[in-house]
């Protein structure tokens, strides 16, 4: 381990892969719901949903990683992420809360999807249940507009 792990984390799965977000970056786990598609939305944008009176962009995480996409119109669980401004992350299933003591950081050396993941601030950790990819919420959204022809959201200062 070459840096503090932080945590604890909430894990969730998309397809066969487990991911994790720092619990302090998670505002709420939402029950399954359908995102409303937005015209011109990029692959990353599954649509919008309403949460506590505010509209959230729903991010399709596998699509962001350019991983194989599951059926987009199924009702899905969502995680409301705090930063850079609240948005919903569509996941297959939320997992559990894990502490730093349960995880060990690994170095990602692979190419392809792993490189994509590394570029997006993903950290690879190992737990006794297998590998977990920890996401940096500020980099989940990527750069540029979520809508073709739309304005890009304001950059969040690191």
């Amino acid at each position: 381990m070459n840096r503090p792990l932080g945590g604890p984390w909430i894990t969730f799965s998309c397809g066969d892969t487990d991911y994790a977000l720092d619990v302090f970056d998670v505002l709420e786990l939402l029950p399954a719901r359908t995102a409303t598609p937005v015209p011109g939305g990029t692959d990353r944008l599954a649509g919008i949903t309403t949460w506590r009176g505010r509209t959230l962009a729903v991010i399709d995480w596998p699509a962001t990683l350019k991983a194989e996409r599951d059926t987009p119109d199924l009702r899905k669980r969502m995680i409301v992420v705090r930063r850079p401004s609240p948005f919903a992350l569509r996941v297959d299933a939320p997992g559990r809360i894990v502490g730093a003591g349960e995880l060990e950081e690994l170095t990602m050396e692979g190419g392809g999807a792993d490189r994509e993941a590394r570029d997006q601030g993903v950290r690879l950790l190992r737990s006794r249940h297998g590998l977990v990819r920890v996401l940096d919420p500020r980099r989940i959204l990527g750069r540029g507009s979520l809508v073709v022809g739309g304005e890009a959201p304001r950059e969040d200062p690191e």
Partner: protein
């Protein structure tokens, strides 16, 4: 204490907005009447009082530049009141500029950037002072300038002032007018009072006024205490405190005067901020800072005494002031507390928060309605009745709250109309056109956010009317028209919308010229004869202009398209009409942005909402009335061929049902038939943005959550279907 001071300062800044708007109004009034034989005194008196009070209160809050600009304006109006100078266009323009600078200084102060606009302020002060000096007769006995007073001191006195300034003392000139006979006692009282405050370095004038047997006396003084406290002392004695922050380079002590700290600098001196707060508190609780001296025999009323007398009038002689919440901030500060209870200033964010909460409340009510609908099927009759009654009662209360909160956000159009009036005058000056502006309906109210968003579009329309609409005077004469052109600006309420019209009595639109320019720019094919409507649409094309070269106010091709963009963003429309005389622009915007009515439609398995403002009617189209075979599919209705659209791709004949659901949309003066799969309910909706991550989605103006939990997009028909719009979008694609 510090918080209390900040609150009072914030309140002063907010109220000064009103003060400056009133000032603008008075300057406009003077502009309208200055060519008459008799210029009315009332606006001159009002501006004098306003600037005088503003000067004092701004200085009290440490806004020295604002105080200095106000002082210059006040000097001009004092001379106008006395008849020492006359009002002319050049001077009026300078006064307008002074007011503009005050606006800029206010904005800078509100954003905590007091250091900005210093150069502009100094420049306008110098110009106003120079303009006034050049108009005053050489033997004019009034020497109101602190700089001049300082220059009149002998070197020893100047050195004494300089030393005091280096110690951080506040510098003032106290000016007072005394009767020729028996002036000794009041003069001595004044001198004693100033000495109780600080040090008197010299007496400057003592000149005798030629017109009324009085003496004008100026006393140069410095002191460690707040200038405000001196104002309180000398006001009842007929003294007026002059503060000079003009930075006039010729002044020998100017460098020391510039950037005068308001607070006393010496250790051990009374805490200036604490004193100031105590004094400010007194504004609320007790005596005013420039109290009248009615009991004192004062044959020649000074500015201070005159103020108090006229302040009492100010509340009553001016409807506009009363409507905008009583006397202006500066006037109110000196006028006592009678107007305080009538209005309450609330930060916009608080109202916005309430609005958000109201939206959630309505949302919750919609959920409750849905739940109740299912319950009603299963409960007994008595329970059903009670539930229905409770829901109706809840609905009534929510509506009352909704109307109340929406009402709080509503503001009158009069401040905007004043800005437009100013822009109109400037445009006339720049173009050399002689015209008058007739404004109607300035009391019409609509949402503050909408009023702000309307400013630029309307400024453009007004300038456009002068520059493009009105003909030059010679042309009007040749055409047998009144050489003075007329532009009309009117506002009226139509249900939940406001209609704003800008019309002119010019020559109207030169369609031949539009056609030629359109063809020259490749916007129209040579072999097609466009309709007048198509040509009018060209005027909204980005970059389109009829001007051969850009001028100071138009001709850059940036304008009408931006106006239409702004209207669309507000959920409104703009249309242009070529009337019998001149041109008319009609801008229609909702009164409020937050809650509106919309029609639900379904297409491609997705539901959308269309604002009712764009819905002419829902209908079932017969296939025989639809011609979908050509590139421009149309629907025949009332002898008109109306363009047909869908939300996905181009309409195809094989998709049309025997009775095709459709919505007839009104896009300003155009109509479009939108084919849909189903027309749903008309709904009252809480409009929400798509969130910070989706700041601009073409073709979508917002979204809403329905009672059943669904989130629906609200379409923007203008941006979707208006042929003049440059960003076609396929929503359902």
């Amino acid at each position: 204490m510090a918080e209390s001071f900040d609150q009072l300062r914030a309140e002063f800044l907010a109220e000064t907005e009103d003060t400056l708007q009133n000032l603008q109004q008075d300057l406009n009034e003077l502009g309208e009447t200055m060519d008459l034989d008799t210029v009315p005194d009332a606006p001159i008196d009002r501006v004098f009082r306003t600037t005088h009070s503003l000067k004092g209160v701004a200085g009290m809050f440490g806004l020295t530049r604002m105080s200095a600009v106000s002082h210059s304006l006040e000097s001009v109006f004092e001379c106008l009141r006395r008849g020492d100078v006359g009002l002319d266009r050049e001077l009026l323009d300078l006064l307008h500029r002074g007011n503009d600078v005050l606006h800029a200084l206010l904005a800078a102060a509100a954003s905590g950037q007091e250091g900005q606009e210093v150069a502009t302020a100094s420049s306008v002060i110098a110009e106003i002072d120079a303009a006034l000096a050049s108009r005053l007769p050489e033997d004019h006995g009034v020497n109101r300038s602190v700089a001049e007073a300082l220059a009149s001191l002998d070197p020893e006195e100047q050195q004494s002032v300089r030393r005091a300034r280096e110690l951080g003392r506040n510098l003032v000139v106290v000016e007072a007018t005394f009767p020729e006979e028996g002036f000794e006692t009041p003069f001595r009282d004044l001198l004693t009072a100033i000495r109780n405050w600080g040090t008197v370095h010299g007496t400057v004038s003592g000149e005798r006024r030629p017109d009324d047997s009085t003496f004008l006396v100026q006393l140069v003084a410095t002191g460690p205490q707040e200038i405000f406290s001196l104002m309180k002392i000398v006001g009842p004695l007929g003294g007026e405190v002059l503060i000079d922050e003009s930075g006039v380079a010729s002044d020998p002590i100017d460098e020391a005067v510039d950037d005068v700290p308001v607070a006393a600098a010496d250790a051990g001196e009374p805490d200036a901020e604490l004193m100031l707060e105590a004094e400010l508190q007194e504004l609320i609780d007790g005596p005013a800072f420039a109290p009248a001296a009615p009991e004192r025999a004062a044959p020649a009323p000074t500015a201070g005494a005159g103020d108090a007398a006229t302040h009492r009038r100010a509340g009553g002689d001016r409807d506009r002031t009363e409507r905008s919440g009583g006397e202006s901030g500066a006037l109110r500060a000196s006028g006592g507390k009678s107007t305080r209870s009538s209005t309450l200033r609330v930060p916009v964010e608080r109202v916005d928060r309430l609005m958000t909460e109201l939206g959630d409340l309505i949302q919750a009510k919609l959920h409750l309605d849905e739940t109740a609908d299912s319950l009603l099927e299963t409960t007994d009759r008595m329970s059903r009745t009670m539930l229905k009654q409770s829901l109706r009662s809840l609905d009534r209360h929510i509506r009352t709250i909704q109307e109340g909160i929406l009402g709080v956000r509503l503001v009158g159009l009069d401040p905007l109309f004043q800005k437009l009036e100013r822009a109109f005058r400037d445009a006339c000056r720049v173009t050399g056109k002689n015209a008058r502006l007739i404004a109607r309906g300035e009391t019409t109210e609509l949402d503050k956010e909408i009023v702000e968003a309307l400013t630029d579009p309307l400024l453009h329309l007004i300038r456009n009317a002068v520059d493009h609409g009105l003909e030059p005077e010679a042309d009007r004469r040749r055409a047998g028209k009144n050489p003075v052109g007329t532009v009309e600006l009117s506002a009226s309420t139509e249900g939940s919308f406001t209609l704003i019209e800008v019309s002119d009595d010019g020559a109207g639109i030169d369609f031949d010229r539009v056609l030629k320019r359109g063809r020259d720019r490749g916007l129209l094919d040579d072999d097609v004869t466009p309709s007048r409507r198509d040509l009018l649409d060209l005027l909204f094309h980005p970059g389109f202009t009829l001007k051969d070269s850009a001028t100071e106010i138009s001709g850059r091709g940036v304008g009408l398209d931006a106006v239409r963009d702004s209207a669309a963003k507000l959920g409104g429309t703009i249309e242009i009409a070529d009337g019998e005389v001149g041109t008319v622009f009609r801008l229609r915007v909702p009164i409020s942005l937050a809650i509106t009515q919309a029609l639900e439609v379904e297409t491609g398995g997705q539901s959308y909402l269309i604002p009712l403002s764009h819905v002419r009617r829902a209908l079932h189209a017969r296939p025989e009335d639809l011609d979908l075979t050509s590139d421009d599919p149309v629907f025949l209705l009332d002898e008109s061929a109306i363009p047909v659209r869908t939300l996905t791709d181009r309409p195809r004949p094989e998709q049309v049902r025997a009775s095709q659901p459709a919505v007839l949309l009104g896009l300003a003066d155009r109509r479009v038939l939108l084919l849909v799969d189903r027309v749903g309910r008309r709904r009252e909706i809480v409009v929400r943005s798509l969130g910070e991550l989706l700041p601009d989605v073409p073709g979508v103006s917002g979204c809403t959550e329905l009672g059943d939990g669904r989130t629906l997009l609200i379409l923007d028909p203008i941006r979707l279907f208006d042929p003049g719009w440059q960003r076609p979008v396929e929503v359902g694609a």
